[in-house]
C-alpha cells in the first residue's frame, strides 16, 4: 500500500472520530432546543456531559484540516476555493457553538438573559455546522464540485446547493442528534435519571428514524446526482452499505429493548460504516473526478515523515484521551481518582452486572 493511501485511511479514521465525538456534541446542542419540561435540569445535564470533552472532541476537526493540508495540499487548495461559502458558514457555526457553550456554562445565572441568548446561539450553530459540513461532503462526493473545465470556482455553487447535498446535510444533522441522544440515554441511565432516560430513548429512536429516511433518500438521489458514488456503492462498497443498514436496525432494536450501552456501541459503528462506505465508493478520488490520491498527494518522503509524526502523536494522544474519557464517562476505575469517585464507580459496576458492556 502506498503511503498516501495509508495516510488517507488514517485521515478517514480521524473523520470518523470527529463524527462520533464532535458530531455528538453538535447533537447535544440540537437537543438543547427541545428540553421541554424541567428545562434547567436537562440543560445542566447537557452542560455536564459536554463540559470536559467538547474541546478535545473539537480538535479532531483541526487534525483533519491539518492532515489534508499536509498530505493533499493541492486538493486542500481546491476544496478551500470551491467550498468557500459552506466552509465559511460551517466555520462561523463552529466558532459560535464553542463560544456560546462556554458563555452559557459560566453564565452568572442559569436562567438569566445572558444564558438564554447564548443558549439559543449554541443550539442554532449546532444545527448549522453539521448541515454545511454534510452538504460540503455531499458536494465532493457528487463529482460536481469543480467546474466542468476542472477549475475551482467559489461562485459555482450547484454542487452544494443540489437536492442531494441538502438531503445529506440534513442527514448529517439528524445523525448528530441520534448519536447524542444515544450517549445521553446511557449517561442518564447511569445517573439513575428515569425521566431523562426515557425522554432521550424516545428522541434517539425518532432521530434515528429520520436519519434512516434521509439516508435512503440520499442514496436514491445519488443515482442521478452522484453517479460515481452510486456506482461505487453498488459495486465495491456493497457489503459495507448492507452492514450499515443492518447496524441501523440493530441500534433501533437495542434502544427499544433498553440495552443502552450496546446501542451506544452500535451507533458508533453505524457512523463508522456510513463514512466508510462513502470512502470506499469514492476511492481512488479525493475530489471526483479530477483530483485523485495519486495526482494530489505530497511527495512520498514527506508523507512518510508525517506518518511517523502522526504515530508519535497518537502514542501520546490515545492514552490521554482514554484517561479523559475514563475520568468523566466510563465506569471503570483508573489511577488518580478521588476516593469518593472510586466508591461511586464500584457501586455502579455492581449495578450494571446484568447489563454487559
Amino acid at each position: 500500500m502506498n503511503v498516501a493511501l495509508f495516510a488517507l485511511v488514517i485521515l478517514w479514521w480521524g473523520l470518523i472520530a470527529y463524527a462520533v465525538l464532535g458530531g455528538a456534541d453538535f447533537g447535544a446542542g440540537i437537543w438543547d432546543l427541545f428540553v421541554g419540561r424541567e428545562a434547567e435540569r436537562q440543560r445542566s445535564f447537557i452542560n455536564h456531559a459536554l463540559g470536559p470533552v467538547w474541546e478535545a472532541n473539537h480538535t479532531w476537526l483541526i487534525f483533519l484540516i491539518v492532515g489534508v493540508f499536509n498530505v493533499f495540499p493541492a486538493a486542500f487548495a481546491l476544496l478551500s476555493i470551491a467550498l468557500f461559502v459552506p466552509f465559511t458558514l460551517a466555520l462561523i457555526g463552529v466558532v459560535l457553538r464553542g463560544a456560546a457553550f462556554i458563555f452559557r456554562y459560566y453564565a452568572p445565572r442559569a436562567g438569566g438573559n445572558f444564558a438564554r441568548w447564548w443558549g439559543r446561539v449554541f443550539s442554532i450553530s449546532s444545527i448549522l455546522t453539521p448541515f454545511f459540513l454534510g452538504a460540503s461532503a455531499a458536494a465532493v462526493a457528487s463529482g460536481k464540485l469543480l467546474r466542468p473545465d476542472g477549475i475551482a470556482d467559489a461562485t459555482y455553487i450547484v454542487s452544494w446547493t443540489s437536492p442531494f447535498a441538502i438531503t445529506i446535510g440534513a442527514m448529517a444533522v439528524a445523525l448528530c442528534a441520534t448519536l447524542s441522544a444515544v450517549y445521553l440515554v446511557v449517561e442518564a441511565n447511569q445517573a439513575h435519571e428515569q425521566l431523562l432516560t426515557e425522554s432521550y430513548r424516545r428522541k434517539a429512536l425518532w432521530a434515528g428514524a429520520v436519519t434512516a429516511v434521509l439516508g435512503a433518500l440520499g442514496l436514491g438521489l445519488s443515482v442521478s446526482e452522484a453517479p460515481l458514488l452510486w456506482s461505487g456503492m453498488v459495486a465495491r462498497a456493497v457489503p459495507v452499505v448492507v452492514a450499515t443498514m443492518l447496524i441501523g436496525l440493530a441500534t433501533a432494536t437495542t434502544l427499544y429493548i433498553k440495552r443502552y450501552r450496546i446501542a451506544r456501541l452500535l451507533i458508533i459503528s453505524e457512523t463508522a460504516f456510513l463514512l466508510g462506505s462513502w470512502g470506499l465508493s469514492q476511492y481512488p478520488y479525493i475530489i471526483p473526478p479530477q483530483a485523485t490520491i495519486a495526482n494530489s498527494a505530497n511527495e512520498p518522503s514527506v508523507i512518510l515523515m508525517l506518518l511517523i509524526t502522526i504515530a508519535c502523536g497518537l502514542a501520546i494522544l490515545l492514552p490521554s484521551l482514554y484517561y479523559l474519557f475514563s475520568v468523566f464517562k466510563l465506569p471503570y476505575p483508573v489511577p488518580g481518582l478521588r476516593k469518593s469517585v472510586e466508591r461511586e464507580r464500584e457501586a455502579q459496576q455492581n449495578d450494571s452486572v446484568q447489563q454487559p458492556l
Partner: protein, 448 residues
C-alpha cells in the same frame, strides 16, 4: 476595499484577536501549575483560591482561544489557497505537530478544569504539566512555521514545481531559533504583567489581603524573570535580521540608503516617497554598533531592492519603535518593583505610582506583542513566502471577501463584548472564605 486588502484585513484581525488568547494559553497554565503546587506544598488556602479563580477565567479564555485558532486554520485555506498549497507541501510538519500539541492541551484542560471533584489533588496538579508544556510546544511549532515564511528553506524550485522537500530543514529554518524564543518569552512577559496588573488595580482600589498580594507577586515574578531575557532575545533578533532579513530590518529602522556608520533613528515621521524621516531622534553610528558591534559597519538600506518590493516603511518603523518602547517601559517597571520589594524587606510595594505602572504594563506588553507581529508580517510584505510567493498571488479567487471580513469583525466584537462582561462578573463574584484547602475544593465544586 479590494479583495486582496479584505483578505489581509480579515487575516490580520483574526491573528490580532487570537494572539491575545494564545499568549494567555501559554502563560496561565504555568501560573496555575506553580500556584497549585504551592497550595499543595504549603497548605496555604490562599494559593488554592488563586488557582481556582484563575482556572475559572482560564476555562473561558481558552475556549475563545480554541475557536479563534480554528478560524485561523480554516482561513489559511479560505483566504490563501495558493499559499496553502505551497506551504502544505513544505512546512506542514510543524502545523501537524502543533495540532497534536493543541490536542494534548485540550485533553488535559478538560481534566484540569472540570476534574476538581473527580481527581485526587495530586493527580489534578499533575494534569497541569501537560497543559503548560504542550502550550509552550504549540507556540514553538506555529512560530517555526511563520519563521519559514520569513526565511524559506527545505525545498528547491525546479521547472516551477516544488521538489526535494525536507520538512525538518523547513521547520529548523534560519529564523526559527530567534523568532520562537522571542515569542515564547513574550507569552510569559505579557501573562505575568497582565495577572499582576489585575491585582495591582484591585490593591489601588482599596482591596487588601494576602490573596491580592500573592496574586500580584506571582505575576510579577513571572514577568521579572522573562522580561530581561526578552530584551536580550530582542537584541539577538535584531542582529539576525540585519543579515537574514535586511529589507525588513531596514524598514524597522527606517534606513533608506545603504550606509556605513548608520545612526539609530528613533520615532519620527517617515515619508516613504522622499526617503526622509522628519522629527526623529538620531543616535550617530548607533545602528552599526547595535547590529554589528562596529561603529563603521555597513547597514543595508531599502535601496537594496526596487521600490515595488518595499513594505510600508512608516507602519513597520512605528510598530517597531512602539514595541521597543513598551518593552523597555515594562522592564523598568519590573526592576523598580523588585527593588522596592527588597528594600522594604519583602513587603509588596504600596507606592501608587508604581502600582499604576504595573497596571499599565499589562496592556502595554500585549501591545508590544501585537506591534511585534505587525513588524514581522508587514515587514515581509509584499511577500507572503519571502522571495517565492507574493501576497497578492496567494489570495483566493472567491469574491465576497468584503462581506466575509465584515461578518468576522462582527463576530469578534460580539465575542469580545460577551467575554469582557463575563470575566468582570467572575472577578466581582465574592471570594470564598479562607478555609482548609480540601473543604474549599468541595465547596466550590457545588457552585461550579
Amino acid at each position: 476595499m479590494s479583495n486582496l486588502l479584505a483578505a489581509r484585513a480579515q487575516m490580520g484581525t483574526s491573528l490580532a484577536f487570537h494572539i491575545i488568547f494564545s499568549v494567555l494559553g501559554v502563560g496561565i497554565p504555568l501560573l496555575l501549575c506553580v500556584a497549585e503546587g504551592l497550595a499543595l506544598k504549603t497548605k496555604n488556602p490562599v494559593w488554592m483560591m488563586l488557582t481556582r479563580r484563575w482556572a475559572k477565567a482560564a476555562a473561558i479564555l481558552f475556549a475563545i482561544g480554541a475557536v479563534s485558532g480554528t478560524i485561523l486554520s480554516f482561513e489559511i485555506g479560505l483566504l490563501w489557497p495558493t499559499y496553502s498549497k505551497f506551504a502544505g507541501q513544505v512546512v506542514g510538519l510543524p502545523f501537524l505537530m502543533e495540532g497534536f500539541a493543541f490536542f494534548t492541551e485540550a485533553i488535559f484542560l478538560g481534566l484540569y478544569l472540570y476534574g476538581w471533584s473527580r481527581l485526587s489533588p495530586r493527580a489534578h496538579w499533575l494534569c497541569s504539566f501537560p497543559i503548560w508544556i504542550s502550550g509552550l510546544a504549540s507556540a514553538w511549532f506555529i512560530v517555526s512555521a511563520n519563521s519559514w515564511m520569513n526565511t524559506p528553506a527545505g525545498f528547491v524550485i525546479k521547472n516551477g514545481r516544488v521538489v526535494d522537500i525536507n520538512p525538518l530543514q523547513a521547520m529548523f529554518n534560519p529564523s526559527t531559533p530567534y523568532e520562537t524564543i522571542h515569542m515564547m518569552l513574550a507569552c510569559y512577559v505579557a501573562t505575568g504583567f497582565a495577572v499582576a496588573g489585575v491585582y495591582a488595580l484591585a490593591i489601588l482600589r482599596g482591596k487588601q489581603g494576602e490573596y491580592y498580594r500573592k496574586g500580584l507577586l506571582l505575576g510579577m515574578l513571572m514577568a521579572v524573570i522573562a522580561t530581561p531575557l526578552q530584551i536580550v532575545s530582542g537584541d539577538f533578533n535584531a542582529r539576525f535580521l540585519a543579515d537574514y532579513q535586511p529589507v525588513k530590518f531596514a524598514a524597522m529602522e527606517a534606513v533608506f540608503r545603504t550606509e556605513r556608520g548608520a545612526p539609530i533613528t528613533i520615532a519620527g515621521l517617515v515619508d516613504q516617497n522622499t526617503g526622509q524621516v522628519r522629527y526623529a531622534i538620531e543616535i550617530p553610528k548607533g545602528l552599526s554598533i547595535l547590529a554589528y558591534s562596529d561603529p563603521n559597519a555597513t547597514i543595508k538600506g531599502l535601496d537594496q531592492v526596487s521600490r515595488g518590493f518595499w513594505p510600508n516603511v512608516a507602519l513597520v518603523h512605528m510598530s517597531f519603535d512602539g514595541m521597543v518602547a513598551s518593552g523597555f517601559f515594562v522592564l523598568f517597571v519590573g526592576i523598580v518593583f523588585w527593588i522596592f520589594y527588597w528594600m522594604k524587606k519583602k513587603a509588596v510595594p504600596e507606592n501608587r505610582l508604581l502600582l499604576w505602572g504595573v497596571v499599565l504594563s499589562g496592556p502595554l506588553s500585549f501591545l508590544a506583542i501585537e506591534l511585534g507581529w505587525m513588524v514581522t508580517e508587514l515587514g515581509r510584505q509584499p511577500w507572503v513566502i519571502y522571495g517565492y510567493l507574493l501576497t497578492r498571488d496567494a489570495a483566493t479567487t472567491a469574491p465576497w471577501l468584503n462581506i466575509s471580513f465584515l461578518i468576522f469583525v462582527l463576530i469578534y466584537v460580539l465575542l469580545a463584548a460577551a467575554l469582557v462582561w463575563l470575566l468582570l462578573r467572575v472577578a466581582r463574584s465574592p471570594l470564598p472564605k479562607v478555609e482548609e484547602v480540601g473543604q474549599l475544593q468541595e465547596a466550590e465544586e457545588v457552585g461550579v
